[in-house]
């Protein structure tokens, strides 16, 4: 073959190889892009899944916190000196004075008193219920505080046993502190 023809053939071969190289490169690039897209989709799915799990965990924590809040309010009520029985200036544990309960029930209509106790009782309703012996129906249940919130999703309720002392009759009856928390 002549030199020119050989050179021409070499050029043609190089060109063809170049084309196949280019095609090979395009396919390789396509693969890379496909892998990248799949990885991104998997990542997004993973993030969405993790988000859902986190949200449900957060909801559980919120519910737990609300339940603790209701228990805290119940403990605060039973320890308030304004409600507790006292003897010679010493407050008695797990005992509420009936006349203090009735006084708080009446006084809660006064705005300053209600605003003051709102900091303790927050979004709740607090009822003192007499259980045993059979109470006078007029004073069976006394609601000392009611936040009266509307559009609430649910309420949580807790009851604590308590002694209720009647200082006029000098007698003690058995009762319950019922705390209902309002939560959205």
């Amino acid at each position: 073959m002549k030199k020119d023809e050989i050179a021409k053939m070499i050029r043609i071969i190089n060109n063809k190889t170049g084309i196949s190289h280019r095609k090979g490169g395009q396919i390789q690039m396509g693969e890379t892009v496909a892998v990248t897209i799949i990885v991104i989709i998997l990542l997004v799915l993973g993030i969405v899944f993790w988000n859902k799990i986190s949200n449900s965990n957060v909801e559980e924590v919120v519910i737990q916190s609300q339940e603790l809040s209701v228990i805290e309010i119940a403990n605060v009520v039973s320890d308030l000196p304004e409600l507790q029985c006292s003897e010679s200036g010493v407050n008695k544990a797990k005992c509420l004075d009936m006349y203090k309960i009735r006084a708080m029930n009446i006084s809660m209509d006064i705005p300053e008193v209600r605003k003051y106790y709102n900091e303790y009782f927050k979004n709740s309703r607090i009822t003192i219920m007499k259980v045993y012996p059979e109470p006078d129906p007029a004073y069976e249940n006394i609601t000392i505080y009611d936040a009266q919130l509307n559009n609430t999703a649910r309420t949580l309720q807790i009851s604590l046993p308590i002694n209720i002392y009647d200082s006029v009759q000098d007698s003690t009856i058995y009762g319950l502190i019922i705390v209902e928390g309002y939560y959205r």
Partner: protein, 370 residues
Amino acid sequence: MKNVKNKFMRNRRGVIDIQFNWIFVMIAGFVMLLFIISIVFSQKHNSDKRLDTKVITEVATLLKGKQQASSTYSEISFPSTDIRFNCQSSNPLGMGNDDNLFTFRMGNSERIPLPNSIIFAPREFNTNKLNVWTQAFTIGFTVNVFTYITTPNSVILIYNPSGMPTPYAQELYDALPDNITKKMVDDYSELDSYSQYKNVKIVCFFDNDDGCPYDDGGFISNKYGYIEVQPVHQQPSSSTDIFGYGYVTFRGKLGPGGGTDLAKAYIAKAGLFGAIFSDNVREYSCQMDRAMKEVEIKRLLLESRLSLIQNDLTDPSTCRTHINVTLENNILPIRNPILDIDNVTVLGTNAKSLDSMNNLLTISSCPKIY
């Protein structure tokens, strides 16, 4: 020639291209670096804020919890941080019942309101430990539990001059908890030897004669300020008069400012401690204003209770008479009380009278006042 020229231009273009590439890379890199650094700083800031919020929530919960028990001492430790207590009163020197807002802040956290807590503490300080002490505020009936806060860097100096000793000094010294740094000082020259403490409170007594340090040139007044306590003598008088009622004068640095002094009234042991643990007269006035508002709320409850008892007691009844007298003489007259120099005697004697009445009711087997 043409080929050489073309080749030359291509080389030049390549050189410029390469330089532009590098410039572009540097700018892009710099921008990315700035972005990453800003993310790091914002994450750090958020993390600090979250930590401050967590710590302040825990400390606030502990402080609110201390209110449930009287005469307790405890210590709260946390990472060293700045703490600010802020009692805002529309009337700074407490000349009436205005709305007072009391908040608490640690580091960069949000202010946490403490609406029902009466806390006497330095206004601003940096510490890693709080010494917390509580005392019930009782003026015949329990109103609230006062909380007093100091730091390990605080000291209370009770000035009891050797030439003119007073029993009030020892009484006060014994009443303060041992865990709080307290010293009895009998010589004026010793007062400045405690300057290594960041918070120095000097307490002296006006007992017939002036028992306060002779402050030549106002050195002590300007550097530390001091509180002059003047109890009102009861009949019969005793060393415990100091915990009845009286006057406290905030002098020098503790006064309202401008080198002036200001006298305020105090009532009950808890009130006196409030004056001692307050940062200055403004803080004391603000907190006592808030306390007196609570007095009215508790008075309303007590009035309501006694009225109900009175109605339910059958006539004739010694108990009913006693309750009625208590209502008329002790409860109704102290409606909307204001603690000031003119009114403190009425409040103080009323508190004693309520105690006596309660004892009488106990002896008579009647329902007690509280």
